[in-house]
Subunit: 217 residues, 8 copies
């Protein structure tokens, strides 16, 4: 029944970002079938939330695809980094080491589009010196993506230090009253620092799309 | 006990946006006392969530302040519109007429900072032609703020049509299962359109701060 | 202890729709035992939420049953399509490819009852042209079922375009703040378009029952 | 700022139901201004959620409007009952006396459109004989609207007795763990009877729109 | 570390009901160790929420224990049915076939204590005749336990028909907006019928304890 | 529109408890009209949740009614205490002084029906000696009603001390994370003591109905 | 009915902290009656959540009581500051000016008990220098109480800087997705800094009790 | 990508408690890599939430580590018990046997730091004598940690008996309306006993950190 599916091939023209395969509930066969349709158009291919097991089957069938294990992503037809198309670089910060996979989803999405990126991982608020020691990375960025779980306080701290837009990504890291990312999500939505906006829990991909929309010339 | 309050006078230097008075839980006397401290510095003054009754008392004591009734805001030392400081204009869209006060909070915040703004109100998804008929207003904007209550679907529709960043503001308009804006908030966080990020329910001010951070040169 | 079970064999007489086996928590043996009771009555048999593993055991024991893998359904004694019993056809729309299994649960339920159906899959709001290009499918339908996950905005958009009733089915597709379909459910309950009513999350079967109740002469 | 509002005057053409004024958050002055725009078009006027105090101001300015106190509605240019345009009548049932205002919102909406209606109020499941004694009213109806608060069980009971579509309206009647209608809403969404679909809490108006979409020829 | 555990051996003396082993999070070894301590006292032994896999290991070590598969319970030193100790019998009703395991947890608990019990399973509100046809079973009971999932409406219907106490047990049967039994729980807490009280979701054991407390002479 | 209301005059015959007027959302005029219908039948009259202001108007019109201010109840045709109809007395315990109004709603309901009652108020778990000092009141009771807000721990403590049934009534007393009684409700539903069942938040009336159903011979 | 109330006069002996009057739901008359009972014992009197209107009536009847308007508290028989009974002082920090009333509830409670206190108000994470500039106040304290609303990030930042225990008090300050303090509460419960524990939303009194228990020799 | 991780090696200096490895989402390889970095510093090593399978791999690679199976922890370089550094001992109480793993997480954390500890397990409120019989263990402690699931009432009971600080740890033990520890969490936050503060659900580690902060000289 994927035959009556309407892929949105004009999405890049309208929005600057191609349609992307959401791999979560799909079988490897479904991913192969949709990916093949994309490859025929010779456009950038991005698939998110593809676990290792599925990825092995897909890349065996479509060997031109690259798999990023930590980001759970498949890509093809990646762009080279093209600084001329962007106002600057996007800094991606993670609060803990456990938040890195979400940060990586953002990084792979951006670098596949040719968007310049710098990263700083494991720099949470329980040890403030880590973020204060890297203030130039933050202040020179055009956009800042911050992935944090548990109490999700890092975007507020960074938002109070810089004038560029902060895209906050709550992660589902934590347990108990973190409620799979709700605590971090609510914290970020209530940030008392200016210039912070929020995407869905674990949505590194969505944060990258917002950064692309902001930074693309 | 406001005597031990630490106003953050350097916030504009760090973040580009001045500290702002959150009027919701304060007495008119507290607002007057904090506003006076700001006026002494001769900087832009913004107070949000000041109802009419409080505003009457405050403006009697401090007649240099202007009150915006629909936005529930007090301002002073407004900047003139200064297009040279911005990459373009911010478009502010409201889904229904009931969402206009939130849209106005964003508009007054931006215009007080000198940020160029255009508006389109009452253009929700139940009558799609309204948004399709104004596509040039959207496509020429540098940033788009969309305020919507109830199902909060408008940011997804707009996000699918444009390449510039969309800042979605859920409003508390609705009843029953709208849960004072939760339905709209969740809808926006789950937007399947690229380039959408979200601020708190009814947070027109926060949307404006994000637009300022993005659009300011 | 299924011996003291009271199957409701008169349900078709009262409601026009037979009792249906809810397969979710049942063992294959329990399904076989209840299905056999139905087969003795020679009536339409429908079982929902039967996974592949269980279905293999059941169909081995009862080979007259058909299994629909994507819909997770078992059927027997299906009716032929009987347009004379209906005012028109039901259109089933899915927002994404991931929502197709829910749409298929509705489709198999209806076609088993002899109800005429047409489908349009993967036509979500992030690419509006997909739905606008098929407006005649919508406007000629007697009833429209719309399955959508994530922000669940498609029923509002369709409800604003047509005069026939829209049955909205939220799906559990999404992650994070989709809360397994709550975001879509709330969006649909708050639809600002007229003529939209909602069934439970992932309840393709319930949407089909409502369509049958409306469309049956 | 209502000047930039885009009223959706073509909504009746597209959907069969005119745009309606949502009075909840509006001042009397705003209602008068929008209502006047409608009156100029000489079309049916419906305003919902207008309390008595506002209604007094509005009807003084626009004396052609009628106010329905229990339904909290204002109407103008009502249609006469026109059975030829409908397949039959809609039965409106309320579970308790406290649910009557919601039922009345549905009744006034339908009768203003010319839709034939019959009512049965205060017939909840704690005294089943009340509904069983009126079974002919139910079985002869084309559509049944059921408004119920607290546990919201009445739509399930009625759905198990009839073959016509049941539109369930949860009401906010109750206290404590009724959570302003959530208990009733969830009960109705989980109805194990076939042919039940649900609208928002207290949304008598939305139930009427769905009934109109189903019953209108 | 179970060594410092304080088993509450006097609980029967104080409350009439022995301490019971909650098997859910325990290893088979822990269950064996606690059960052995009970067996040494030669008292009634009840263990709840013991899955088949664990039960196999426990009963191999302690062959005097009986395992009830559908109820997920282990028992030892069961009492014979002793009508003289009770005012009458307890009727246990289940709404669907899927709710039977919860009803069985109540039944095994009661019969192990010697409490007289009668059952009626699969008699939900979508087919009211099933409950009306067995009214004498209900009216002659001293206590009625009703297990129901999905919308949980059956206790309200029964509570409106009888004068004896109804103990309502919400079950986690359902999906989507049933939220693992919350819909049924809320429905039962909001019952508009008199003489209904509620225990935790799936808590057949707790319902039995309440019935024992009521019915024991 | 109360004219089409179906009062359930046979409820006492079926359930032992008369239909009761739920005063919360009703105007004084509506209460007077329904109460008059009851008075004509010369049966026990109970109205709950009638505030002082409404009560003044109602008792002026119907002077035979008695108003209980703390319980917010109106009664008429009260029964005398009739120990012969009951197995024993019901003990009503409140955890704090703030929970007394809910306890009083239970007491007035029971005493109006002629049910013997004893009370112990302000005996919460933070000072355990208060409950331990009154153990004979507890152990001699036939049924125990316990009203508690905040953490709602008192029913667990009492349930661990006695063998008679405990009806737990969560109250909305508390603030913050008490969530208007949810904390107490959840605590009571999860009681690890045997013989505890729960009614809705603040539902003193429902607790009394359950006690009546248990204790009535 | 306060006559059967059991005041817990031995609470100071057992717990070091006297029973305290929770004024929220009480009438002035009830407060006067309970306060008089305390005054007869000549012990410290504390009443929380007494609004100005009630306080005026109470202090007129009992002029020996002092009212603290910002803290909404009444006190009597206050202790003098007694450093010898304490290991050191408690520092009370508020994140914003709006959180001061909660901080004051803690301060008045402690100072009434004779507990040494220092305060620093309006030092939230959006302007980190404010807290970094007062690090000696923090590092010299024996206990630190931190009141914060909105995202509630301040306890995490402080917990990462000091070795003494931090008692986090979420406040209900905020709007929208702050959900009256839930966002702050969850943030604090998920703090990734060591040595942080949490009390109820707005519970300045509870924070003070915990500080007293820790700091009292 | 762990290469850019910033371990916070100065955390002990600042907070008295070393950075700890949160093992939940990490692979054994990641744990080995971070643990090795710690071992090079020769400091106390603590890793929490390491399941048996992962622990086997880690301890094979790093044989100097000790695994505590019930606590799910890995440790190295443990301190000897050092009473001179502490004001007294911490008592750790569990309500049920099922809560022991959480209590053990606290115990191992403390004993690894050299903190003196005593334990009392399985002493819940359904059998009060268990806690009353050990009152000297409680009254002689400097700090008391109480782990409880289900209704979480034990901290309130203990808080009402002692003057030392109680750290309440809700556990996820329970089912249905325990909502994985929410019921216990809310109960503890609403404790009406003085001197109780709360950490996250199942956060034995956090409770130990708070006890360390309080008790360390
Ligand atoms: N069981 C636990 N609960 C809460 N926090 C923890 C736990 N175990 C470790 N941590 C904290 O988690 C942080 C490490 O997070 P990450 O960098 O994501 O591994 C450290 O700062 C620890 O203090
Ligand atoms: N990780 C992701 N998070 C949110 N949306 C996504 C993600 N990956 C893909 N999508 C969107 O999901 C849509 C595809 O949904 P479907 O048709 O169900 O596969 C595309 O429009 C993508 O833009
Ligand atoms: N997918 C489904 N969603 C909702 N209800 C269903 C579904 N499948 C079957 N049912 C209903 O579930 C009932 C059977 O429940 P049970 O007796 O527990 O098997 C029948 O009355 C069906 O109408
Ligand atoms: N299915 C059940 N539901 C609720 N409580 C139970 C259940 N089974 C046992 N219990 C109670 O759980 C307690 C034992 O808890 P634990 O010490 O953790 O094993 C006993 O007091 C029992 O009364
Ligand atoms: Mg880290
Ligand atoms: Mg509009
Ligand atoms: Mg798609
Ligand atoms: Mg009624
Ligand atoms: Mg059934
Ligand atoms: Mg008290
Ligand atoms: Mg401030
Ligand atoms: Mg135990």
């Amino acid at each position: 029944t994927l035959d009556n599916a309407c892929l949105d091939h004009q999405r890049t023209l309208r929005t600057g970002i191609p349609e992307v395969i959401f791999g979560a509930g799909k079988t490897p066969e479904q991913i192969i079938s949709i990916a093949s349709a994309f490859l025929k158009q010779n456009t950038i291919l991005l698939a998110t939330r593809v676990n290792e097991e599925k990825a092995a089957i897909v890349t065996e069938a479509l060997p031109s695809l690259t798999y990023y294990q930590e980001a759970h992503m498949l890509t093809c037809n990646e762009q080279r980094e093209s600084p001329d198309n962007y106002r600057g670089y996007t800094a991606i910060i993670s609060a803990g080491t456990s938040d890195i996979p979400v940060a990586e989803e953002a990084r792979i999405t951006l670098s596949t589009l040719g968007h310049p990126v710098k990263t700083l991982y494991d720099a949470g608020v329980a040890g403030l010196h880590r973020i204060l020691n890297h203030s130039s990375l933050l202040s020179a960025a055009e956009v800042i993506i911050v992935a944090a779980g548990m109490e999700g306080a890092l975007p507020s701290v960074i938002g109070g230090l810089v004038s560029r837009p902060v895209i906050a990504v709550p992660t589902s890291i934590g347990y108990g009253a973190s409620f799979s990312g709700i605590a971090a999500l609510l914290g970020m939505l209530n940030s008392c620092a200016p210039g912070v906006a929020v995407v869905n829990i674990d949505n590194g991909f969505g944060a990258a799309c917002m950064a692309e929309a902001i930074n693309r010339i």
